[in-house]
């Protein structure tokens, strides 16, 4: 990013999205509290706050984890992906309410320091049925909070996309901890089968969607092993198989490359968006720029540079088109280095 930051970037579309999120989360909270009061009329306000915020946070976390694979399987889900960051912050706030009220209710009223009490009030670490599940929730809350406070683009730029991505992949560790937190908690305190069933369904759907979308991405990504020409360029097929304004993704040696066809030309750039390493090969050309399917970051196809005032740069690759065959040199050029796009022959007859 090369322009000033805003605390929160709200476009008209994002405002609408956030209003929907707030309305749906409020509905979940109201429904959960209503049903809880109906089933357990003796429940205290603190218990209702703890349980409703925990339930809503875990539900939103599932939605967050489903949005990624769903938008890879079906592009109609992409608008949900653009604003996933705000959903993550809402989830973190709900999780903080759950965590803070739980700490006050269960650990802050004695003589022992609250943080020590979390780890020592129940020391059955070797028991499954009596395991101190709150410890798992504590670590999950730490990861989720760390993700929320580093979610701004300032952190993406200053931590670097690899570190930032590593921190934010922690969501899967947090999810695993929370599955165990909820499973062990409901095992100790719940008599109804409802929670284990919901947890099992949520877990299976999450695993299923990730497995399916991962398999589909691998299937779409062609691994090219040859043949090579005298310039050590690899043949990756004919240009006809790339739709105009679209791309294919190939893996050659250790490089994952997005090959774009636009205005009768072929250009190749690194497949990984500088923003959050989104798959550029699954994007398209919008306003003459390669556009990332995840958050709409843009790059010129011929030099991999973001249009001004932004300054992100991708590695580019040298290409050639001979007899309709595309050839790629898998040795990347420096980020932002201009290359002459290859011209597709007889493009008009192909259209």
């Amino acid at each position: 990013m090369g322009v000033e930051y805003k605390a929160i970037t709200w476009t008209a579309q994002k405002k609408q999205y956030d209003q929907w999120v707030l309305a749906l989360v409020s509905l979940v909270l109201v429904l959960f509290i209503g049903v809880s009061i109906w089933i357990h009329p003796q429940a205290t306000k603190e218990t209702l706050i703890i349980r409703s915020s925990g339930f809503a946070a875990f539900l939103v976390l599932h939605v967050i984890l489903w949005i990624g694979p769903l938008s890879r399987i079906d592009k109609r889900f992409l608008p949900l992906l653009y604003n996933r960051r705000h959903l993550g912050v809402v989830m973190a706030l709900l999780a903080m309410v759950h965590g803070i009220f739980s700490m006050i209710q269960f650990h802050a009223l004695g003589d022992t320091h609250v943080l020590i009490s979390i780890f020592t009030s129940n020391e059955n670490y070797r028991s499954i049925s009596q395991f101190p599940f709150q410890v798992l929730g504590f670590f999950a809350l730490f990861i989720i909070s760390l993700m929320a406070i580093t979610s701004h683009d300032f952190w993406l730029k200053n931590l670097g996309s690899s570190v930032w991505k590593f921190v934010h992949m922690g969501v899967y560790l947090a999810y695993g901890l929370l599955v165990a937190h909820v499973a062990l908690g409901s095992l100790q305190y719940e008599t109804s089968d409802m929670y284990p069933i919901m947890l099992g369904v949520g877990f299976l759907v999450t695993c299923g969607l990730h497995t399916y979308s991962g398999w589909q991405s691998l299937y779409k990504q062609r691994i090219v092993k040859g043949p090579t020409n005298e310039e050590k360029m690899y043949s990756v097929g004919t240009f006809h198989r790339i739709p105009e304004g679209g791309a294919v993704t190939v893996r050659i040696e250790d490089q994952v490359i997005a090959i774009y066809r636009y205005d009768g030309k072929i250009a190749a750039v690194s497949n990984f968006c500088r923003h959050q390493m989104g798959p550029l090969g699954e994007g398209k050309i919008v306003d003459g720029c390669i556009t990332c399917p995840w958050h709409g970051y843009q790059y010129y196809p011929h030099n991999g540079q973001s249009p001004p005032p932004y300054n992100e740069k991708l590695e580019t690759y040298n290409t050639k088109v001979r007899d309709g065959q595309i050839w790629i040199d898998p040795r990347p050029n420096s980020p932002g280095m201009a290359v002459i796009p290859s011209v597709c022959p007889n493009v008009e007859s192909d259209e």
Binding site: K6, H113, L115, I149, H152, F154
Partner: protein
């Protein structure tokens, strides 16, 4: 065990307090060295990045030190 944990907690408090003091100084003097657009941004943005700076201040201090030595 408990006294050891109490020492750890006091260290944590000291770390976070240092982070808070670092934040004030960093936003005033250091931000422009590592991210000029951030130093020009408004007060709400600077408040949004407060928790992250308090938590990750050694990383930013190192980055600031490197940017000054360049």
């Amino acid at each position: 065990m408990e006294s050891f944990l109490l020492i750890l907690i006091r260290c944590l408090y000291a770390y976070l307090l240092t982070g808070l003091l670092f934040y004030l100084f960093f936003v005033w003097k250091g931000l422009k060295y590592i991210d000029r657009p951030a130093s020009r941004s408004n007060v709400w943005f600077k408040l949004i990045i407060l928790p992250g700076i308090v938590l990750l201040w050694p990383y930013l201090a190192n980055k600031w030190r490197k940017s000054r030595s360049r």
